[in-house]
């Protein structure tokens, strides 16, 4: 593993609510290397967003709190970094874009103002300079009429355009790491294709490492070098794209892949994983996937397996993959 930008180790982020302590992220370990695109996949509620927010230290507190683990950004532990240092890092060294382009931009400020703000925060740019840079960025992310758009308000743009603006804003300070939390989920496929294309291009040109969060295995296949599969707050499998999508070890990953309808061939019936995604917090002993796993043994039900190497750069959290 060469030149890691981000090393998350055994991260535990819990929510302290009326209903008790909810371990939304419960021992997650992820590494992102320079220039690499790492995907996190998993179903709704498995802790993807909380992991990414933890990196930015933006988990709403209360009720959320990082209760354990370390997050090393270029060797510096962010968990113990103070707020001032975090403000320097946010938007400058690590940038983030979110799932909902419709609501992620402030409706009452112009596009130029919002991008310019990010620039001014981290550089000594004047108002004029930051505006010019904002226009450059808009052009770079492929927005037509950039000079006019800077002075418009978010509601005047379509969803795809807004996501481009978000990307422009994120990339404005040349971050080393871009965290993209389901950047295309809310978009139509044709627009999704445009955005993914744009991100790929940025990754290639600026060597920006990307932590891409998604629940769409197709997007993973198209974008990522490495994939982390999460289930109920844990990493359950990790490896490079090809391995995970072609030769998954964990029954959950396998099930997930099998349950997808295929575009190119018609299937009579889809495979389906029985049961439901567990309610976060309603954790039992043993493997968290055991209740839905058709190969579960007594061991699975009584003891939590560890994430173990099952091949070259391939890790799985399953008793059966030993």
């Amino acid at each position: 593993m060469s030149d890691p930008v981000l090393q998350i180790e055994n991260l535990q982020t819990h929510f302290f609510t009326d209903r008790g302590q909810i371990p939304a992220v419960d021992g997650v370990t992820i590494t992102v290397n320079k220039g690499e695109v790492v995907g996190i996949v998993g179903e709704s509620g498995c802790g993807k967003s909380v992991t990414s927010l933890s990196v930015m230290k933006l988990v709403p507190n209360p009720p959320g709190k990082i209760v354990g683990g370390t997050i090393k950004f270029k060797g510096e532990d962010l968990v113990t970094a103070n707020e001032k240092r975090m403000r320097d890092i946010r938007g400058n060294e690590i940038a983030m874009i979110f799932q909902e382009p419709m609501t992620s931009l402030n409706p009452v400020f112009t596009i130029g103002n919002q991008i310019g703000e990010a620039i001014r925060l981290h550089t000594k740019a004047s108002k004029k300079q930051s505006r010019d840079r904002a226009i450059d960025m808009l052009k770079k992310v492929g927005i037509p009429r950039a000079e006019a758009i800077v002075d418009e308000y978010p509601h005047q743009l379509s969803g795809g355009m807004r996501q481009r603006v978000m990307i422009a804003m994120a990339m404005a300070c040349n971050p080393e790491l871009l965290i993209a939390d389901e950047p295309t989920t809310a978009l139509d496929v044709t627009i999704q294709a445009q955005i993914l294309d744009l991100m790929r291009q940025l990754n290639r040109e600026a060597q920006t490492a990307i932590l891409l969060i998604t629940h769409d295995l197709g997007v993973v296949a198209e974008m990522c070098h490495r994939v982390v599969v999460m289930y109920a707050g844990n990493v359950i499998e990790e490896g490079d794209v090809r391995t995970i999508l072609k030769k998954p070890k964990h029954p959950y990953t396998k099930g997930l892949l099998n349950s997808l309808p295929k575009l190119e061939e018609s299937q009579e019936r889809l495979y389906s994983i029985p049961g439901n995604v567990p309610i976060p917090g309603s954790l039992t002993v043993g493997c968290r996937f055991a209740p839905r796993c058709d190969q579960a043994t007594d061991l699975c039900r009584s003891e939590m397996p560890q994430l173990k190497a099952v091949g070259d750069n391939h890790f799985s959290r399953c008793w059966l993959s030993e």
């Binding site: 179903e43 709704s44 379509s158 795809g160 355009m161 139509d188 496929v189 044709t190 627009i191 999704q192 294709a193 445009q194 993914l196 294309d197 629940h215 769409d216 295995l217 197709g218 997007v219 993973v220 296949a221 198209e222 794209v241 090809r242 999508l245 072609k246 099930g255 997930l256 892949l257 349950s259 997808l260 309808p261 295929k262 575009l263 190119e264 018609s266 299937q267 019936r269 889809l270 495979y271 389906s272 994983i273 029985p274 439901n276 995604v277 309610i279």
Partner: protein
């Protein structure tokens, strides 16, 4: 009995846009603009398209949950558009709808029993105990347990709620079910459960589906035939096999190529469309796709292409395939 359960001819739905100094009508949103298709008994017709292209409007117009602006809808030989409100209410026994949002489509203040019993009560079917019994049966049918009957919607997961939605639609033994994106809000592992359930039910009960979705692979999986919508119009309609192997309309092609597949070895050639879907309030002239089409010609800009059969029931609306 005709082969076609549902025939839609030249369906239009325009929403007025108000505004201006006096707040009057200043234009229309052409949500559905001259759509025609037919659904055969027992088949599943899929409708795909990007957000805002008029899929839901079409689906809801069929049941006259939205009054269509123009067009004729014939269901089981009856011209639905000509029915009075009261006749229409009775008609709805045979045509039902399942909604996209499993959280919004169940009244949070009613328990499951009440929700499922309601269609029977409305149509005065059975005695109270018969109705209760039917509720229990139907719960089993959709894979829930009868002890769930007394619980409230918020006590269920999304997938379970969607099953309840389906159960409600089935209570009256309808002939047609319009499924408006029934799996879009669900997680992948749950999505396959619901899709399987719907297929099973279709087989058992001989249902006919109009299945609306924006996910091409889902539509393709469940449908016998698929219609592709763009900006209020159907641009291509054919069997699902044909659609993938031989897409004709440039939009369909682009759509297919844009769908990411979980296969790292997939080396399809990507057609990345430029720009956004235009606003239905101000649709482009001629072929509405001409602003994004890679094969655009002068004709596309001026004349609307006819929606025609190019062989074997493969319909397409594109000037490239003129006969």
């Amino acid at each position: 009995m005709t082969e076609e359960l549902l025939v839609v001819k030249n369906l239009k739905k325009y929403y007025p846009i108000t505004g201006g100094v006096l707040g009057g009508e200043v234009g229309v949103v052409k949500a559905v603009d001259d759509v025609s298709f037919a659904v055969k008994r027992g088949e599943t017709l899929g409708l795909v398209g990007e957000s805002g292209c008029g899929k839901s409007t079409t689906g809801r117009s069929l049941l006259r949950l939205i009054e269509p602006t123009a067009g004729e809808i014939t269901f089981d030989g009856v011209n639905v558009t000509a029915l009075s409100t009261d006749e229409m209410r009775k008609m709805r026994r045979d045509m039902q709808i399942v909604f996209q949002d499993p959280f919004a489509s169940l009244n949070p203040r009613h328990n499951i029993e009440k929700i499922l019993e309601e269609p029977l009560v409305v149509h005065k079917i059975g005695t109270s105990s018969e109705r209760k019994k039917r509720v229990q049966e139907m719960l089993e049918v959709v894979g829930l347990s009868s002890y769930h009957a007394r619980r409230y919607p918020h006590q269920f997961s999304g997938g379970q709620r969607q099953r309840i939605g389906i159960a409600r639609a089935l209570m009256l033994n309808p002939k047609l079910i319009v499924a408006d994106e029934p799996v879009s809000a669900l997680d992948v592992s749950i999505q396959s459960q619901v899709l399987n359930l719907m297929q099973d039910l279709q087989k058992e009960m001989g249902l006919t589906y109009l299945f609306i979705a924006h996910d091409l692979s889902v539509v393709r999986h469940i449908s016998d035939r698929v219609g592709v919508m763009y900006l209020g119009r159907i641009v291509e309609l054919t069997t699902s096999g044909q659609l993938y192997s031989n897409p004709l309309h440039p939009y369909t092609k682009a759509l297919l190529s844009a769908v990411p597949t979980p296969d790292p070895d997939d080396v399809r050639e990507r057609v990345i469309l430029q720009g956004d879907v235009p606003s239905p309030a101000n649709p482009p002239s001629g072929c509405t796709f001409h602003t994004r089409c890679p094969h655009v010609t002068e004709e596309c800009r001026s004349t609307r292409p006819a929606f025609q059969d190019v062989g074997d029931g493969h319909f397409v609306a594109c000037h490239l395939y003129k006969q």
